[in-house]
Symmetry: C2
Subunit: 365 residues, 2 copies
Amino acid sequence: MFEFTVLATCGRARAGILRTPHGDLPTPVYVPVGTQATVKTMTPRDLSELGATLVLANTYHLYLRPGGELIARLGGLHRFMGWPGPILTDSGGYQVFSLKALRKVDDDGVTFRSHLDGSTHRFTPEKVVAIQEQLGPDIGMCLDECAPPLDHAYNEQALARTHAWAERCRAAHRRADQALFGIVQGGVFPDLREQSARFITSLDFPGHAIGGLSVGESKEQTYTTLDRMDACLPQDKPRYLMGVGTAQDFIEGIARGVDIFDCVLPTRLARHGAALIPNTQYQNGRLNLRNAQYAEDEKPIEEGCTCYTCQTFTRAYLRHLLVAGEILGLHLLSIHNLHFLLDLMRRIRASILDGTFEQLAAAYR
Amino acid sequence: MFEFTVLATCGRARAGILRTPHGDLPTPVYVPVGTQATVKTMTPRDLSELGATLVLANTYHLYLRPGGELIARLGGLHRFMGWPGPILTDSGGYQVFSLKALRKVDDDGVTFRSHLDGSTHRFTPEKVVAIQEQLGPDIGMCLDECAPPLDHAYNEQALARTHAWAERCRAAHRRADQALFGIVQGGVFPDLREQSARFITSLDFPGHAIGGLSVGESKEQTYTTLDRMDACLPQDKPRYLMGVGTAQDFIEGIARGVDIFDCVLPTRLARHGAALIPNTQYQNGRLNLRNAQYAEDEKPIEEGCTCYTCQTFTRAYLRHLLVAGEILGLHLLSIHNLHFLLDLMRRIRASILDGTFEQLAAAYR
């Protein structure tokens, strides 16, 4: 269970397989985000057809509504949301710490108010492990504290908590059919990142997440930190870069040994009427389909794209749906945007397997 | 083109085939409504999978946005919305007359203000034929005036217009690949209905619509009027009962010789969190899935239902999606509700073909 095999490398990029109770997971992998136990507008069947393999759900949201106990009584997340493949949950910590004015952290845990009804709740390491064991994903996460990436003092203090909490999560974790990943923090500071990697890897988790990146630091700082993480984390366990997900981020992360990425970008952009397209000098990788210039545009979103949306509909029709406030527009854009990242990931993996990753990466740089 | 063949009858119920440029249409048929060139939340592929054969789009809405000229330049509605099967449009008249305070009718046509931006527009018989020829459906409708069903004087006056407009629509109609249906009006009044049927059928349209029902009269009045229509309209042409669509309405309409029904009920109910289920004494044919009683209900919406939603998801999950405001909930309910009516129609047709319609109908009475 949770055996990780690296099949090929290309520089530091790795193509592998992670075994899970709900199927073998080819890596590198892009993980669509299903915050409330649904990837917005998509059926599980739609996701399968797009080739999604692993889906993320948010512990914070599901804990508040409909509740971990309820999902447990209904047989767990897989059955609840009708997704037969592997599922990953976060710890809920990131959402709680994002509440800012509504939460108060101490060394034992964090007290917060629900964004839904203002009711008071408390997460401790033991509690988030227990909730995730109720939800029943294949992969769960330790509770951590994500500090502002450029504040050394704050990161030092947060790191002490993150490490103590990782130990407590590990001790509390019971389900053998669930992998609990440790999370390395430390902002952009080499000393803290190394210290964190040393401590977290000493706890012998089956996989490691890299937290606290893409939250305000520069791209250069992100990449330098990933370089350091690659040197510090064991090669024989999967690495998960949390919350990161543009095409460029995938390329640069994979070039630095990352295996797993999640990001809400495809579905969030869809809700804003934007489609992902290959980077060009002029369009910066996004097409805003609400623009009047597409009103009579008979082209698909992306020429040559094999997704259902591009095979079936013109930009003109998609613009009409968006302008008319039709839900189908969001769904069709979500299909394209998810396909865009999932297909890129498949091509990246194939290029690692056949030794051409550097050529593919060059096209995105 | 537009040949109509009655294959079997069972009492006055008919099972037939209507030939159209985009395929042969088995009748009786339920027509999902795609107001703005989309059946809400459904892809054309979803509709095909549910066995939808004919789809309706609204001339009023598409005329205002994105406009008939634009759809014509993009190759017509079939191409625009990616629906390869037959399409039916209404004349736009029903929407315009529903605007009440925003419209003014005269013998030549009707002037109205757009509900979108208040701009002024005018529909004449010639104009609605021209717009429908731009949209390019297989079946279009004459402009008519739908009067309150119980007001004899109003109906008498409206009928004169409806008849004059039918003649003008027929004269204006050019496209041989499009069938223009005449509409019989006259409220619940036998004299007016007979007069209308006599006049409209004299114009030799390829099909007849029955307008002005299910707009305020009693069920008994609806059925009595349908009985009369069945006696007055030619047997060898299809009959379309506009805007009518509960299970019971189908049964009673088909028992009185109706072939085509359209109704927004399945998708509209879905937006209110309601699912269609077989009539029972206690539940009145609808399940309000937002109710707390379904929070842990592991049953599908309808036991034994073969739709994707019922085959995959529990009431508890659907309730969660609705309460959490997730679009997927509306989509999954739309799938079930459309399946419910489309499947009922398939079973009705099969029962006419094998002579058991009366037994099936009895279960709905």
